[in-house]
């Protein structure tokens, strides 16, 4: 009986593996991807990068410019995330099953949040380019919409998870809706929500680089400028700056998370 069970399990995983291989091979055939060529070009890419793509003494002259566009990107990301979080909090309270006012508004706010979440920030940037043109405002709105959608979803989960019992308890003490929200729902979910906001800021700083390429602003634009004009040493300095700043932000937010959770 037990041997049977294990044999069946082995057969299942073997079958699954087989299907995976079949899908991979199928995909290679359909896209006409040449594996050998793909792997062959890898060493060449590395050699090229080592030969050209590194910061030089001269590129350091541009460092203040890079830094100022990096700061612009950081500030836009943080602003977009924090304003997005304020809106997300409102929509999450409306959308959560524990705290919604009624089922109708609940589903409306969830549908809005889903809509915003499922359009990628890059897609938002392209759409918004039509209205705001190439400016950091476009990037700001793209990040804002993306963060709003994602954070609403995350906040709804947080509220449902943390505040079931204490909401019921406060209802029993006769507290009104607003008091329940401020005395129980928000205090219980604040640490997790802050953690989500920090995560979103990190993600947005990464996306902001890409969005800068599209909207012609911030660090993404700076990178694109030097890369396209074949100034590989400066472009690589931009990349190094981005990596260092992301590592820095990550360690700061990890520290904050440790303190509040």
């Amino acid at each position: 009986m037990q041997a049977d069970f294990f044999a069946r399990k082995r057969k299942n995983s073997l079958g699954f593996f087989g299907i995976l291989v079949a899908i991979t091979v199928g995909a290679i055939v359909i896209t006409e991807y040449d594996i050998v060529k793909g792997f062959e070009s890898l060493p060449r890419a590395v050699t090229w990068a080592l030969g050209n793509f590194y910061p030089t003494q001269e590129s350091l002259v541009k460092f203040p410019d890079i830094l100022s566009s990096l700061i612009e990107t950081l500030l836009v990301s943080i602003a977009a995330t924090s304003i997005g979080a304020v809106f997300a909090l409102f929509f999450a309270i409306m959308g959560s099953n524990t705290t919604r006012v009624n089922a109708f508004f609940g589903s409306i706010s969830r549908v809005i949040a889903t809509l915003f979440r499922n359009i990628d920030v890059a897609a938002w940037a392209l759409i918004l380019l039509f209205s705001f043109g190439q400016s950091s405002l476009t990037g700001y709105f793209a990040l804002f919409f993306g963060s709003f959608g994602f954070l609403t979803r995350a906040f709804v989960e947080t509220i449902d998870e943390v505040s079931g019992g204490s909401v019921e308890a406060l209802r029993a003490t006769g507290a009104n809706y607003a008091s329940i929200i401020f005395q129980s729902v928000i205090p219980s979910s604040v640490p997790q929500m802050l953690s989500w906001v920090l995560f979103m800021i990190e993600t947005n700083i990464r996306s902001a680089t890409l969005i800068g390429l599209l909207t012609g602003s911030g660090i993404g634009f700076t990178f694109n400028l030097y890369y396209k004009s074949l100034n590989y040493d400066i472009a690589s300095l931009v990349v190094v700056t981005i990596i260092v700043s992301i590592l820095l932000i990550e360690s700061i937010s990890n520290y904050v998370r440790r303190v509040i959770l």
């Binding site: 019921e168 003490t173 006769g174 009104n176 005395q183 219980s188 604040v190 640490p191």
Partner: protein, 250 residues
């Protein structure tokens, strides 16, 4: 309703998705009684308590609560002066200091702005302090609630009830998640406070021993119906044996 009865449960029936949770349940409770609800898991104890607390509406029958009309039962503010509840999970806000959790008992009477202001500058602090003193946690006023032990958290929930000061207290398995020593400690404190405040208490319990020790009357539920309803000193061993008997052996 006879004037000395504070709760009257009349033919209450509740179905959950076609399954009968309570079937035509009737009993009345006099002011000052301390009732233990016992019975096997799934007998309907929690459902009954939630129904008396008006969180669940009965499908048939009605529950009358001292001097309150049926429309007043929907007014949580008024109801909170009559009925307070305490549960197994304590239901405290762990991120806040103890004082806010205790003062939560006042939220039904405070306006919105006073409640909000109280989060920054605790209002009527002396009230909270007195309540905490009575449950033996005077020095924990500003302690973060999450840092307290299970027994201490349940005593904070008791202090919240003291501040709310309802006439009827419904307790749903208040000691089920505590070890025997803490359980006895919390139960004896709960019943002592209820006697001092001249409140009426209905508690669901798993321990027959505690039920006999701290309560005046035992209502046993089985399959959503009253199995027996007796003063504590009339309970016989055979009553209890048949109450907890497993179905297969019947």
């Amino acid at each position: 309703m006879a004037s000395e009865n504070i709760i009257e449960v009349q033919n209450v029936t509740i179905n959950f998705e076609g399954k009968i949770a309570l079937s035509s349940l009737s009993f009345s409770v006099k002011k000052g009684e301390r009732i233990a609800l016992i019975g096997p898991s799934g007998a309907g104890k929690t459902t009954l308590l939630n129904t008396i607390a008006t969180f669940i509406k009965p499908d048939e029958g009605q529950i009358l609560i001292d001097e309150l009309g049926s429309s007043e039962l929907d007014d949580r503010k008024k109801l909170s002066r009559k009925i307070g509840m305490i549960r197994q999970q304590f239901d405290l806000v762990h991120q806040l200091p103890v004082v806010h959790n205790v003062l939560a008992g006042k939220l039904g009477q405070w306006g919105f702005f006073k409640s909000l202001w109280s989060l920054i500058f605790p209002q009527e602090k002396s009230l909270a302090l007195r309540a905490l003193e009575r449950v033996g946690l005077k020095d924990k006023l500003y302690e973060k609630t999450a840092n307290l032990s299970g027994g201490e958290q349940q005593r904070v929930a008791l202090a919240r009830l003291l501040v709310q000061s309802p006439e009827i207290i419904l307790a749903d398995e208040p000691v089920a998640s505590l070890d025997p020593a803490r359980a006895e400690d919390v139960l004896s404190m709960l019943t002592k406070l209820v006697i001092e405040e001249n409140q009426t208490l209905i508690t669901s319990l798993h321990s027959v021993e505690y039920a006999k020790k701290y309560f005046t009357r035992i209502i046993a539920l089985r399959d959503g119906a009253v199995f027996f309803d007796l003063p504590v000193d009339e309970i016989q061993a055979e009553n209890l044996a048949s109450l907890y008997q497993l179905k297969e052996h019947m």
